[in-house]
C-alpha cells in the first residue's frame, strides 16, 4: 500500500476540520446542558491533535499500538466523564463517529483517484470505528464498576450484627442467602463475637423467603464456626413453610437451638446468662 494521505490532510486542514466537526457535533447529538460548549470544543481539539500525532507516526491500522496510548487515555477519561454525566453509549460513541463526516469531505476534495480515495476512506473509517468502539467499551466498564461497587455496599449493608444485650448478638437476615452473602455474614458475625466477647448469637431468618439445602448448610457452617470459637448460636424466625422444607430436605438441626421468634430466642439467651427481666411495679 502506498503512503497514506491522511496525515497530510489532517495537517493541512486541522483548523477547518475542528470547526466543522464541532459544528457537526452541535447539530447532531449533544444534548445542550449536559456538557459545556467550551469543554466539548476542548475535547475535540485534544482528540484531533492526538489523532494527528498518532496517525503521523504511521500506525494506521491498530489502535493498540504504543503511538495511540495518549489517545486511548483521553478517550478513556472522556468516556468515563460522559457516563457519569448521563450520556447514552450511542451519544458517547457519536462523539468519535461524527468526525467521519468532515474528514471524508476533505478526503474527497483532496484525493482524485477513486481507488485511492476508497482505500483511504476504508483506512480512516476502520480507525475511527475502533476508537468509537473503545469509548463504548470504556463506558460500559465504568457502568459495570458502579454496579459492582453498589453490589458490595448492598451486601455489607444487608448483614448488620446487632448487640441485643451484654453478651448477646443478633444477626437478622433479610433476603435470599447465597454463598457470597453467607460468607460475608459469617465473617462479620464471627468478627463481632471476638470484638464484643459475646457468648450467644441469634441468627434470625424471619426475612429469608426460602431455605434450600445449600442455605441450610451455610447456616450450619456458621453455627459450627461460632461454636468452635466458643460462642453459642441459635436460629430464630423459622417460618412454618421453612420448617416444613427443612424437615422434607432431611436437614439435621437437632444440635442447634431453634426458636420460632427472636423474642423467644432472646429470652432463652437471657436465661442462659442468668439475667431476668421483671416488669416494674405499677404506680
Amino acid at each position: 500500500m502506498s503512503e497514506s494521505k491522511i496525515p497530510e490532510i489532517l495537517e493541512t486542514f486541522e483548523a477547518d476540520l475542528l470547526s466543522e466537526w464541532t459544528q457537526e457535533l452541535a447539530n447532531v447529538n449533544i444534548r445542550k446542558g449536559l456538557i459545556k460548549e467550551a469543554e466539548l470544543k476542548e475535547e475535540c481539539r485534544e482528540f484531533l491533535s492526538l489523532f494527528r500525532s498518532a496517525v503521523g507516526q504511521g500506525k494506521l491500522t491498530n489502535i493498540q499500538a504504543g503511538a495511540w496510548e495518549d489517545m486511548r487515555e483521553i478517550l478513556n477519561s472522556i468516556s468515563r466523564s460522559r457516563s457519569q454525566k448521563g450520556f447514552t453509549p450511542a451519544e458517547t460513541a457519536t462523539f468519535v463517529f461524527s468526525f467521519k463526516q468532515p474528514l471524508f469531505k476533505r478526503m474527497r476534495q483532496q484525493l482524485q483517484d477513486p481507488i485511492e480515495l476508497s482505500e483511504e476512506i476504508w483506512l480512516a473509517t476502520n480507525l475511527l470505528d475502533q476508537l468509537g468502539l473503545l469509548t463504548i467499551e470504556v463506558y460500559q466498564k465504568a457502568r459495570e464498576d458502579v454496579i459492582l461497587r453498589q453490589q458490595e455496599e448492598l451486601m455489607e449493608l444487608s448483614t448488620p450484627v446487632i448487640k441485643l444485650w451484654e453478651g448477646i448478638l443478633a444477626l437478622p437476615i433479610i433476603g435470599t442467602l447465597d454463598s457470597a452473602r453467607t460468607q460475608m455474614m459469617m465473617e462479620s458475625l464471627l468478627q463481632k463475637i471476638v470484638e464484643t466477647g459475646s457468648e450467644i448469637a441469634i441468627i434470625d431468618i424471619t426475612g429469608v423467603p426460602t431455605v434450600d439445602t445449600l442455605t441450610a448448610q451455610h447456616l450450619l457452617k456458621t453455627v459450627t464456626a461460632a461454636r468452635l470459637m466458643g460462642a453459642d448460636c441459635m436460629i430464630s424466625g423459622i417460618r412454618p413453610q421453612i420448617a416444613q422444607t427443612i424437615v422434607y430436605l432431611g436437614i439435621d438441626l437437632t444440635d442447634i437451638t431453634t426458636k420460632a421468634t427472636l423474642a423467644d430466642a432472646f429470652l432463652i439467651a437471657l436465661k442462659r446468662l442468668g439475667v431476668s427481666i421483671t416488669p416494674s411495679q405499677p404506680k
Partner: protein, 137 residues
Amino acid sequence: MERIPILKMGNFLLVTIQVDMYDRLAMTLQDDLTNRITQTHAHGVLIDISGLEIVDSFIGRILGNIARISRVLDAQTVVVGMQPAVAITLVELGLSLTGIRTALNVEKGMALLRSSLNETTNQVIATQWRADDDAED
C-alpha cells in the same frame, strides 16, 4: 528444639500457643501434654490459640486428638481464643472438632473449666489441701 511451654495452674494445665504451629511442633505438644497430664494429675487443660492465624487440617486433627487423649486421662480440654478466620477454615475443612469445648477467651475458658469440674474436683481439691496441710505440719 522449639517447644510450647505447658504451665501448671492449680488443677489445670495452661498451654498458650504464640507461634505458628508446624506439624513436628504439634506432635511434640501432644506428647508433652500427655506426659504432663499423667505427671501432674491435672483435671483440666486450657489451650489458648488466639495467636494462631493459620490452622490446617493436621493441626486441627491434633487438637481433636489432644482433647480425646485428655478425656481418656480424665482431664477436660477447653480450646479458647480461636480467630474467626481459623474457625471458618476448620469448618470448610469439615473439622467441627466435636468433643472439644471452646470458649471465647482465657477468662471464660477458666470459668468453664472450673464450673464443669466443680463437682468432681471439689473432692480432689479438698484432699489436696489436706495433703498440703499435712506437708506444712
